[in-house]
């Protein structure tokens, strides 16, 4: 604990040292790298060597080249869709959890959250084998009679990325929605019931509005995680499933253009910051949020 209020010079020097140390770690390993990163986005590359002279070239290229903006936009749309799918599945599940009593509620919540901790890479791989042309999904759809023959609808394309990301990120949507639903005072629901509202009316007028902050946090979580992922698209996207994350990643590998990659990351960071701010703004309503 800090020695509050002491003015002894030695102690004051010690407390200054402690303060410097407290800031050093985060500043050196978080802030400085991000700052260098930002600076890098204004450099350029010539024949494999980085030119340390400021230029806006990377940003101009991002906005004028016909490749990047469409991929950027498509990726945003993709990740919004992932967020919507996750919420549509997570909301009823979270609601169901809150209808359960005591021990069951948390046991089931735990059950739905455990897959989060399971190896990400392995899940992607397994989902790929489920979605594959000879995978379980096609087998099942053919067996049920929905399809005549295995479909390539979800093999190595944008749909595959959409489905895989949704599957991976559902737990991130369940938790905030569950927490916001759980925090709705029971008395409000009883009051609504006493005043003669039907179950539907109570849901639409009380439960749903009060749980929206949770939905907003869930949406922003899922969106941010989806847009930052480059492993999933790389793994299940094939040639047609090209996302912004993959382009970014390739700038640091095959393309070897770090400054341009840094500029693309800045664009990504701006979208992420906006998503987090929107999630914060709507996630903090009425004191029922996280």
């Amino acid at each position: 604990m800090s020695a509050a209020g002491s003015t002894h010079p030695a102690e004051r020097r010690l407390s200054l040292l402690v303060t410097v140390l407290a800031f050093a770690l985060p500043v050196i390993f978080v802030l400085v790298p991000l700052a260098i990163f930002l600076v890098y986005s204004f450099f350029s590359v010539d024949q494999g060597t980085i030119i340390y002279a400021p230029t806006l070239g990377n940003y101009v290229r991002f906005f004028t080249d016909p490749i990047f903006l469409p991929v950027f936009w498509n990726t945003i749309v993709l990740c919004v869709s992932v967020a919507v799918i996750c919420i549509l599945l997570a909301y009823p599940a979270a609601y169901f959890l809150t209808t359960l009593k005591g021990r069951w509620r948390y046991a089931l919540l735990m059950l739905l959250l455990v897959p989060l901790l399971m190896s990400y890479v392995i899940k992607i791989y397994a989902i790929r084998s489920i979605l594959g042309l000879n995978g379980f999904l096609n087998k099942a759809l053919v067996a049920v009679g929905i399809l005549d023959q295995p479909s390539t609808l979800f093999v190595f394309n944008m749909n595959a990325i959409l489905l895989t990301l949704s599957l991976l990120l559902i737990p991130f949507a369940i938790l905030p929605i569950f927490l916001s639903l759980e925090r709705i005072p029971q008395t409000l629901l009883r009051a609504s019931d006493d005043l003669g509202a039907s179950g539907w009316q109570t849901f639409l007028r009380i439960t749903l509005p009060l749980s929206l902050p949770g939905v907003a946090s869930a949406a922003s979580f899922v969106f941010v995680l989806a847009i930052g992922d480059f492993l999933t698209p790389q793994m299940v996207g094939g040639i047609s499933g090209f996302t912004f994350g993959r382009i970014l990643y390739s700038q640091f590998g095959t393309a070897y253009n770090w400054p341009f990659g840094a500029a693309l990351s800045v664009a990504l960071a701006i979208v992420v910051i906006c998503a987090i701010l929107i999630g914060e703004r709507f996630g903090r309503n009425r004191g029922t949020s996280l």
């Binding site: 800090s2 985060p26 397994a126 179950g199 941010v224 492993l231 770090w258």
Partner: protein, 266 residues
């Protein structure tokens, strides 16, 4: 919630079951494959076998990667618990500068890992630090620090101030109070934070891919192998890791949910 009409309960239960099935399907496939053979989406139920587990024990690539992952995990846990706890202690109850520092600590956790990873990659290059396990450990520590910091800080905030005051009143020095009162009260939060940190480090892939040198951790090794498809012994590994993960979850829950709360809630 109040009792729902029957049809809606059935509908909600059905969706929840569907979600559970969806979430567990990617875990189910490798586990089943570790005991049976699966070809073209069909399980051959007739021949259960443990051969995949035997093969795993002989796969040196995987075992080396596993060892690397454990080393990185342990170093990450030690570094993040020590620095996270110190930061939490330092900033507990302090107003000025706390929110800005907290924001910096949380940045790598909020930003997509590709951005944190690339920022570190460029940083290491600029300070001429070769990519190695050291850079991986730094990357992981920076990433999980927020979790440990938050876990410890929350416990500190829920700790009653009277304990510390009583200790001073009884004549204890600052150090004695720290060792005898504060640290024991924080220990379960620190253990819980350590478990979470380890779990996150164990599975961290995106930052690791970017900052690793020649030695790769398990997820990165698996990621590289996947381009060719898995050998069956990987399924055995997955089954083992799943069990290990469940164990970690149970442990983390035990340490992080205070005993009274757990009994209150049941």
């Amino acid at each position: 919630m109040s009792a729902l009409p029957r049809p809606s309960t059935i509908f909600l239960a059905a969706i929840t079951t569907l979600v559970a099935v969806l979430l567990y399907s990617p875990l189910f496939v490798p586990i089943v494959s570790s005991f049976f053979t699966i070809s073209h989406g069909n399980v051959d139920w007739s021949s259960p076998t443990l051969s995949t587990y035997v093969a795993l024990a002989e796969n040196h690539d995987i075992l080396t990667a596993l060892r690397t992952t454990l080393i990185v995990g342990v170093c990450t846990v030690v570094l993040s618990v020590v620095s996270g706890t110190l930061l939490a202690l330092y900033y507990h109850g302090r107003r000025s500068g706390r929110s800005i520092l907290q924001f910096i600590i949380f940045l790598p956790f909020l930003m997509p890992p590709i951005i944190s990873g690339l920022a570190l990659l460029i940083f290491f290059r600029e300070i001429h630090l070769e990519r190695s396990l050291l850079t991986v450990v730094i990357g992981h520590t920076v990433f999980v620090l927020a979790i440990v910091y938050r876990t410890v800080l929350m416990r500190l905030q829920s700790m009653s101030r009277t304990l510390v005051e009583a200790s001073y009143d009884l004549g204890a020095t600052g150090w004695q109070t720290f060792w005898r009162i504060i640290l024991p009260n924080l220990s379960s939060a620190m253990v819980g934070g350590a478990i979470l940190a380890f779990a996150l480090s164990f599975d961290e892939t995106m930052i690791t891919i970017l900052v690793t040198g020649t030695q790769s951790t398990l997820p990165v090794r698996l990621w590289a192998m996947m381009r060719l498809g898995f050998s069956p012994d990987i399924n055995a590994l997955v089954a083992l890791i799943l069990m290990f993960t469940v164990l970690l979850c149970v442990l983390a829950a035990r340490f992080l949910i205070p005993r009274q709360m757990a009994t209150e809630r049941t």
